[in-house]
Amino acid sequence: MREIMIVTRENLINLILASLLLAVPFAADAFGQPFYITLATRIAILALAATGLNLALGLGGLVSFGHAAFFGIGGYVAGILAAHAFSGDPLVFGLPGSKQMWVIWIVALILSGLVGLAIGAISLRTSGVYFIMITLAFAQMVYYFAISWPAYGGEDGLSILVRNQFPGVNTMRPLTFFLICYVILLLALALFALIRASRFGTALQAARQNEVRVATVGIQPYRIRLTGFAISAAVTGLAGALFADLNRFVSPSMLSWHMSGELIVLIILGGTGRLFGPLAGAALYVIFEYALGGLTERWQFFLGLILLVVVLFARGGLLGLLAGKARHG
């Protein structure tokens, strides 16, 4: 906890990033430009998804190429629960669907966490390239399952007719929905900081640095990593549920390997293992997508160039460039 409190350059930059993300939608609202609120909401949700991945990748060194599975599962939880609430058909065991966001969030957290536990239980028996490939394989399984499941839209996806509700507020108002996502992002960042400073987080980082050394002090690396992976999956799943509500649409594209790659790119752009790395990365990514996407359809070519420059010359990502080397390298 100690280092969280100290005013360092990194904390200052984090504060600026958080304030900017909060300020933009208010300004956009004042000037009647709701599009920019949606853009900021997208940044917040992608940052949340990447914060989940950052737990596994940044702290645990687990290069999961399958986090789209959890993102998509969260999305489908929102879509499916809303669809059943709308049609009135019971879901399973006679349970109804729900239009309440908090119900959807809890289900998304639990379900993606459990799937993360199952995928992690098998994948974490491997390491290195095999781990990357096996997480990818699991995500592709979920992807093809979604495509071939006609009850919930198959390849066409599933629309959410009216954005799900949250007690006491009007979620259809872009600024309100942004604030919901923003608060959840801040909570997830607080969770990340707490975990990083905890004994569990320390052991997770130690296991990344040297598995054998961790075992000789009596810590089972597998169990620590599995716990980290499941928490990571749950957070990314929650982001998926919000993403579905943002677009009012879920499709298998949320589950595709492009999405997994995008989350890894966000983290590398922002700074791996840094608290605000995912937010910095998501902001850069969405801004590039918007600015370059307006100029050319092949904006991802330029994103590739930028990524190349980051990997070659600024390995700490945007935060590494602005705030110096990570304390936890």
């Binding site: 280092e3 320390t202 980082q205 640095q209 040297n210 000789t216 002090v217 009596g218 936890h328």
Partner: protein, 227 residues
């Protein structure tokens, strides 16, 4: 016996490194594991910790057979390993290195800091920025924080400045006086022998001699330990 190693054989791939090592450490005893380079000291320690499990023979810790147990289980049986080469977690702070593996017992952060005051001065520093001697103190401190029944030190003071060596030996003597069981490997006989209750010498992967330090004559030293 706290540690009972009987006729273990260990391999690196196809090549055999240990051909039958016997070793025992009683509660509260300090045993020096000796031998020239390449005779199997580190391999024996790795076999005890199941990092390189023996293919024949047996290891018992506090009466429990370690056969088939994973390294973290062996550690939990009460083995605190200070590996060769002062291996800390370089990208964690001193404090984090110590608390990461802590298990409840008489060794607490306060006591480790009191044993090695230099560590408490550097508690927020990254382990990679410590000097070699400080890293060794940290490695010992980390092992103590797991509250082991047996502390194993592989090359306790190798490559350290003489002043630092004195600090490390002082700490080892204190740990012994407090009744901790210790298995120690080191080349400085002048420091090692006064600490040890018993010596075990390995030659070519076998236990070649075992006895009290006072019985380790110059002749034996020349025969087994001379270069």
């Amino acid at each position: 016996m706290l540690l009972d190693v009987t006729r273990i054989e260990a391999f690196y791939g196809a090549s055999q490194a240990l051909f039958g090592v016997d070793l025992a450490v009683a509660e509260g005893e300090a045993v020096a594991l000796m031998g020239r380079n390449g005779m199997g000291k580190t391999t024996t320690i790795r076999a005890i910790c199941n990092l390189n499990p023996p293919r024949a023979g047996g290891v018992k810790i506090g009466g429990t057979d370690t056969k088939g147990k994973r390294p973290h289980h062996v550690a939990k049986l009460g083995i605190g390993l200070v590996p060769e080469g002062r291996r800390c977690f370089p990208n964690l702070t001193v404090h984090e290195n110590l608390v990461a593996a802590a298990r409840p017992g008489q060794w607490t952060l306060e006591r480790v800091n009191e044993l090695f005051p230099r560590l408490s001065e550097r508690h927020a520093q990254m382990a990679r920025s410590l000097s070699g001697g400080e890293q060794q103190m940290l490695a010992i401190g980390r092992a103590l924080m797991t509250n082991p029944r047996l502390l194993i030190l592989d090359e306790a003071t190798e490559g350290l400045a003489p002043v630092i060596r004195q600090d490390i030996w002082k700490a080892i003597r204190r740990l012994k006086a407090e009744g901790l069981s210790i298995l120690v490997v080191d080349k400085t006989l002048s420091e090692l022998l006064p600490v040890a209750d018993r010596c075990v010498i390995l030659e070519n992967g076998r236990s070649a001699w075992s006895g009290r330090p006072t019985d380790l004559t110059t002749e034996l030293q020349d025969r087994y330990l001379g270069v």
